[in-house]
């Protein structure tokens, strides 16, 4: 962690007093935290603590009843997924959400769709600008393919890839958007040790090489402690801890939440 390419900067994303409820179920209660530019920020917590809901609020899939989100100086009450993507927030999914009918290359190319401008007629004829655009974005995507070492599977339908690789394609698709902030929802869930190591390396490389700010949810404490700069701990939709991995590990509230307390 000592010689990272991009020193941690100013606050880029801040969640302020967000509350989210589904009917009577309170998923999040008055949660606030900040994410600084270029840092790796982890969100941890027991099952059902509201971690995924938090990510869904940040990228506009869920709309919170209260609270605001500040991103790059803009304040949003709720985000719309398209707007969020335009603003520079990308994410991966806990349960793979790849486009199963498409090849690896096509999946990653969808991450570039946001930036592709050729209109319907140009595309229909694959005339000049449309073709140029395809090639230019293909080049960008090839960089990401090289970076994540998925070259051999370019044209393979994603459904045929093993799980660990599919997770990597999911990451590649999000990276193709060239996001400022990357939200990773359990990037290592269900992986074996080797795959986890690879994924950790890729996450750190992405952070280092592209300077992407990373917010990740993870259950593997070893991983969280190793790769994150600061950690937010949620329990029953409330924030119970915030700080460096070392501070969080020592916090009594966090230990209670994970191990339970005798009443």
């Amino acid at each position: 962690m000592s010689q990272r390419g991009n020193p941690i900067g100013e606050v880029i994303l801040s969640v302020e007093g967000v509350s989210l409820a589904f009917g009577g179920v309170r998923a999040l209660t008055d949660v606030s935290f900040e994410v600084r530019e270029h840092e790796v920020r982890a969100i941890i917590g027991p099952n059902g603590a509201g971690k995924s809901s938090m990510l869904n609020v940040i990228n506009g899939v869920y709309h919170p009843q209260q609270g605001t989100i500040r991103f790059l100086g803009q304040t949003y009450h709720d985000m719309d997924p398209h707007e969020t993507a335009l603003a520079g927030i990308a994410r991966t999914f806990q349960n793979l959400a790849l486009f199963k009918g498409m090849s690896v290359l096509e999946n990653i190319l969808t991450g570039r769709n946001l930036r592709m401008r050729a209109n319907l007629l140009l595309q229909a004829l694959r005339a000049g600008p449309a073709l140029r655009e395809e090639i230019e974005h293909r080049e960008r995507v090839e960089h990401i393919i090289d970076f994540l070492e998925i070259q051999p599977w370019r044209k393979t339908p994603v459904g045929r890839l093993p799980y660990g690789l599919q997770k990597r394609v999911d990451l590649a698709r999000a990276l193709a958007m060239e996001p400022r902030v990357l939200l990773l929802d359990e990037p290592m869930a269900g992986m074996n040790l080797e795959e986890k190591q690879d994924m950790c390396r890729f996450i750190l490389d992405v952070n280092d090489h592209f300077g992407t700010t990373i917010v990740l949810i993870e259950h593997d404490m070893g991983v969280v402690m190793d790769i994150s700069d600061r950690v937010v701990v949620l329990d029953y939709g409330k924030k119970i801890g915030d700080g460096t991995p070392h501070e969080v590990r020592a916090s009594q509230a966090v230990i209670d939440a994970y191990l339970g307390v005798s009443h």
Partner: protein, 354 residues
């Protein structure tokens, strides 16, 4: 096939992304098109043109159109014959009211009218999915059936409700004989096939497929569902509208509203299910299957010398046809295009599978 891409290395993305990246495929395609344009008109009888090839070409175009919205964008529609009807009646009225218009322009305008109507009936897709959407698109079918039967302006106040058209003229070329119709339709179909392939390879095609495969993820990636779904409906209806105009003008010559009824919609849907959802090639296979099979079944008893009454033959035709559809759906739910792909993959390694 008996060849593979060995030794054909691509040195640019343009080369890697072309329509047919393998040299042999390109040669084969050129040969096939040349054969279809030059040899077929010389050797095939009028009967085959009129009852097989001409319907096949037009229905293949319609099937490609339907496949764009159902197979690629995942929005099921069982009202697409309605958009064919819109195309046909739009073309009829354009020719009737502005006779000096070139037929190619008429086709494009008819397609655009169908696209607008298709988009309108595609609006429910923004809120509902799957079977519910299917029922909503059925509304298009019934509404259009009613509209063209009841609002006399569309049929120019014809008494019987059926409309007649003169043979199509194009730059002084009267497309009258079966051979001429065939050549004209073939050219149109090839053009639209290339357009469809280009679209599904472009970013709009990826947006459609993303919508089909995982709509939440697509949205998070920045694909707007409204644009993706409505553009799929519009493009699809454009194709189908053009096919409708051709069906009316080139194939039927005169028709009544019932020519574009629910049966035709369902037939189109069968074509893409049997041929292969999300495959342009599959649309061809499916159209061929639906057009050719009934005729083959009809001719078979006579051919084999089995004495049978006509009524018996036509009943048997229905039963065998239905049974075959069920058989195909069970054996290969992804359609003939998938069978083709599997065959190709096997042949790639044949005869040494390891």
């Amino acid at each position: 096939m008996f060849y593979r891409e060995n030794g054909q290395f691509k040195s640019s993305y343009a080369a890697d992304q072309q329509l047919l990246p393998i040299l042999q495929d390109r040669v084969f395609m050129v040969a096939l098109v040349a054969f279809a344009f030059v040899v077929v008109p010389l050797v095939v009888s009028d009967y085959v043109f009129l009852s097989l090839l001409i319907p096949f070409l037009i229905l293949a175009l319609a099937a490609i159109g339907l496949n764009l919205v159902v197979g690629y964008c995942g929005q099921i529609s069982i009202g697409h014959a309605a958009f064919m009807a819109v195309g046909a009646y739009a073309a009829y009225n354009l020719v009737l009211r502005i006779p000096q218009l070139n037929f190619l322009i008429v086709l494009v305008l008819a397609g655009l009218v169908a696209a607008a109507v298709g988009m309108l009936f595609g609006i429910p897709s923004l809120r509902i999915k799957g079977l519910y959407l299917a029922v909503a698109t059925l509304g298009a079918q019934f509404f259009m059936d009613w509209l063209f039967a009841r609002v006399k302006w569309f049929t120019n106040y014809a008494h019987s409700g059926s409309v007649q058209t003169a043979p199509v003229e194009l730059f002084g070329w009267s497309i009258d004989s079966p051979q001429e119709k065939y050549v004209f339709l073939l050219a149109v179909l090839i053009l639209f096939t290339v357009i469809a392939r280009n679209l599904v390879r472009g970013h709009i095609g990826r947006a459609w497929m993303a919508m089909r495969d995982m709509d939440v993820a697509a949205e998070v990636i920045g694909i707007r569902p409204v644009y993706a779904k409505l553009s799929a409906f519009a493009v699809s209806s454009f194709f189908v509208g053009v096919a409708g105009a051709l069906w009316g003008f080139v194939h039927l010559g005169s028709w009544e509203p019932a020519a574009f009824n629910l049966t035709l919609s369902l037939n189109l849907l069968f074509m893409i299910i049997i041929g292969g959802m999300g495959s342009i090639l599959g649309s061809f296979f499916g159209a061929a299957f639906i057009v050719v099979l009934p005729i083959v079944l009809n001719q078979l008893p006579q051919f084999l010398g089995i004495p049978m009454s006509t009524a018996m033959i036509s009943h048997l035709e229905f039963m065998i046809f239905g049974a075959l559809i069920v058989f195909f759906l069970i054996v290969e739910p992804h359609g003939l295009a998938r069978l083709w792909a599997i065959g190709k993959e096997k042949l790639r390694l044949w005869p040494f599978p390891h």
